[in-house]
Every structure is written in C-alpha cells, then in structure tokens.
Amino acid sequence: MSKLSIRNVEKTFPGRNSTAPTRALVPTSLEVADNDFITILGPSGCGKSTLLRIVAGLETPTAGEVLLEGKAVSGPGPDRGMVFQSYTLFPWLTVRDNVCFGLRERGLPRAEQLAIADRFLAQVGLKGFENHHPAQLSGGMQQRTALARALANDPKMLLLDEPFGALDHQTRELMQELLLGIWEADRKTVMFVTHDIDEAIFMASRVVVMSARPGRIKCDIPIELPHPRSYKVKTTPEFAAYKERLTEEIRVETIKAVTMER
C-alpha cells in the first residue's frame, strides 16, 4: 500500500467578479511510496502549489480524494508537516518556541518539548540560536527553523513548497544538502515542489513533471543516483543526462505556459 494516494484529484478555482473560473488541476492521480522523496517539477502557475496544498488539507479538491496511509485527508493536520515558500515562523516566538509550537498544541510537557526542539535545532545547525527571534535570522536560518518545526511533530510525511525559492543560490544549495542529509538519515516520505531542475534531480528519488495549465502530471522519472549523494553528483554525466531530459520536458511546458498568457 502506498503512503499517499492522490486519486483523480481535480481543482477549479471559482472566478471572481465576472472573471472565468481557473482550472488549476485536471483529474490527477499519483501514488507515493513510503520513504520516497518525490519532487514535483513544473513551470510556475502549473498547479504545483495547488496539488501540495490539497495534500496538506489547506485546499479542498473540487473532485477526487487524497488518502494518507489509506485514510482520507479532510483537513490540515500535524501528520503532514509543511514548509512554505514564504517565511512563516511566528515572529513573537523565539526560535525554540517556534519549534515547540506543534508539541505544545499537542499538550506535551514542557521539558519534553524542549528536549525535542533542541534535538531538531541541532540537526538543522541552529544550536546557539534558540533564543533568537525570527527577525534576527537570515532567510536560510528561518527556513531551517521552519524545517525543524515541521520535523519536531514527527509527521508521517513532509510537504515542502519551494521552501528555498527566496534564498540566494549558494544558501539554496547548502539547504538542499541539509535536507537530503536529513532524509538519508531517517527516510521520512517527502513531497517537494520546485521549478528548479537541479534541485529536483539532486534530492529526489522520483521527479514528477507537471504540465502547464491546466495542471496535470506529464511524466514520472525515477532518479537512480546513489546515496548518500554529495553536491559532487551534480557534475556527473548521469546527473547531466537527467538534466537534459528534464530541461526538454520543462521547456515545452514553459513555452506553452507563456503563449497561453498572451
């Protein structure tokens, strides 16, 4: 049985003030196996976020259903940890209390919260910043905190929506290595949305390419690069081959998306 089943999920956003409704997702199905690291790759506006948000329970599908370990998803919950592209740390809480947030909502004793929070903060390399407030952190540090906050809940899977999209290139690559390292350590099922081809290949065990609006899954490519992967894999011929193929797939879609906008 799959960890996650997306079955004929479809989404149409109603039009506002006499604008036509937006068909963001045609009926889409996808099976995600346990321990998979799936990246959803597609040009912007193709419905990646919509698909991820439906899995998160933040958006209700117009039709179809999402099953997590066989149970239908009916709303957001702590079993699906999410990291957003925008910085969503609670600015009034310290880094440590941000990581404790979900544990506190669950009613864990404070001492236990702190122990868990400090463990995950150490894992994302933020030891020493526990008492900082988000405004005192760089973008990369904020997203690492957000990652620790999602992981601290011990979710069944991790959903990430272009979490490194706003970071500079170098920070972004370090963050990819960090996330991949965490995944290699305990293989939590991950669904990662991106429009960056290198990012998609580097971390994934499967890259799912989405086509331009209305979004649908175009192809599904297993990535057979060995683990543990280091940044050096990006310069191998195998990596280049994947990249060539995906660049071609994405290019067609991007051209379609751009001409549609006209």
Binding site: G57, G77, F90, W92, E105
Partner: protein, 262 residues
C-alpha cells in the same frame, strides 16, 4: 537636494530630539511675541507668564490637582470599559466572519453617532454623576475600537494561520496563540490612538453638569474671563496626553520587542 530631505530617510536620534524641542520653542516664542509685544489683548490671550501664574494659583488655591485626578480617572474608567468590551469583540469579529457579518453594519452606524450628542440623553438616564461622564467616553471610544481591532485581526497573515493548522493547532489554538499574539502590537497601537480621542470626549462631558474636572475648571474660568486659567487647563490636557502617549509607546516597545521596526 540636501541629503537630509531624502524621502523616508531616517533622521539621527539627537537631531530628532533637537527638532522636536525646537517646535515647542518656536510655539512659545510666537505666543510670547503675540502677547508681550502687545499684538493681542490680554483679555483674549494671556501671556505665557500670566498663564503660569494662573496655573500656580489654580494648584495653590483652587485644588486643581483634584480636578486633574478626577478627569484622569474618568478617562481611564471609560476607556478601560470600552477596551474590555471592544478588544474581545473585535478579535471575535476579525476571526469569525459570521460574527463580523452580524455586528459590522451596526457598529459602523454607531461609530458615527457623536458621543457629545448623547450627553443630554445620558444626563436623563444616568444623572450628572460620574457614570454619565464615563459613559460619554465609553460611547465615544468603544465603536471606533471595535472596528479598528476587527480590521487588525482580519489583516493577520493567513500563511501564519495555515502554518499553525499544519502544526496541529485547532480553532481555539489559532485564535489564542496565533491571531491574538500576532495582533497584539497593533491592537496596543489602536488603544493609544483611541485614548487620545477619549480625552476630547471627557472635556466635552465636563463642560456640562460637572462640579469637578479640568473641563469644569475651564468653564468656570470662562465666567471670569480668566484666559490664563483656560489656557493652563488646555495646556495640562496636552501634557497629560503627551505623557500617556510616551508611556504607551514605551510599554509597546517593552511588551512586543519582536515587532520592532515593522
């Protein structure tokens, strides 16, 4: 163009203080020239010296300290009652749209009812005692405050709320531990503004049927054409306003250091 007058460019703290004080100095200078220079008759405008003398006499002979205490108490009592009702109601209206839909039209209507126009009615209902004065301030502040708090809470970033849901927060957790802390600094700022307006209502309330208070003193002084006392009374209101304003700002910075510079 002078670099000092670059749009939005902050000014050095020392210069800021000097400029702020200069405005007061100019004000007193203009006042002094107008009165000591004989440009305005003392009957219409007392000189700064005469005003000060009148003020000292007020404290020494007429128990002005008690007037001040009575007025301050009325403002704070009326304002506290308004805040105690308006802040929770505003939060509920901001958070729960059916509550907003129920109250919004009525509150918007009530907010335009001039508090001073209620004075004759309130005298009829509550007599000329303390309650009537406090109610004027209450009516003058409560509707404004409800609207302001509603707008503040409605404007809280929805991605923070979504993040809280994916971390396992339920409805009450979102209201109490996301919306409330996120809105607190701005609610505090709204309280500071509305408190300023409350001062204008109290004086109006004291102009009618009061036996004590700053407003009553001003009306008394009018009977004797004592412009010195009148001006001193008005002046004291400004000074108290300035002090509460500074206290509010200091408290805001102290309570919500994380909101600094937003």
């Amino acid at each position: 163009m002078s670099p000092l007058f670059t749009p939005l460019k902050p000014v050095a703290p020392a210069l800021r203080t000097v400029l702020g004080i200069s405005c007061f100095v100019l004000f007193f200078l203009g006042w002094g020239i107008a009165t000591y220079g004989g440009f305005v008759k003392p009957l219409f405008l007392a000189s700064p010296g005469d005003t000060l003398t009148a003020g000292i006499a007020l404290f020494r002979e007429f128990g002005f300290a008690e007037d001040i205490a009575v007025t301050v108490w009325r403002v704070f009592a009326g304002f506290a009652m308004a805040a105690a009702l308006a802040v929770p109601l505003g939060i509920l209206m901001g958070a729960f749209k059916p509550v907003e839909a129920f109250f919004e039209a009525f509150v918007s209507f009530a907010r335009y009812l001039p508090a001073s126009a209620f004075i004759p009615l309130l005298i009829l209902w509550a007599g000329v005692g303390e309650l009537q004065k406090i109610l004027v301030i209450f009516i003058g502040s409560v509707f404004q405050l409800v609207i302001m708090v509603t707008v503040i809470v409605s404007g809280i970033r929805s991605d923070l709320v979504e993040a809280a849901y994916t971390l396992g927060a339920k409805r009450d957790g979102v209201v109490l531990r996301v919306l409330l802390p996120a809105a607190s600094p701005q609610i505090f700022e709204a309280l500071r503004l509305v408190l300023g307006w409350a001062w204008t209502y109290v004086i109006v309330a004291e102009l009618v049927g009061a036996s004590r208070g700053i407003g009553h003193m001003i009306i008394d002084a009018q009977r004797f054409l004592d412009t010195g006392q009148m001006i001193f009374g008005i002046f004291i209101i400004g000074v108290i306003g300035l002090i509460t304003d500074l206290l509010f700002r200091a408290l805001n910075a102290r309570l919500f250091p994380w909101a600094k510079g937003r």
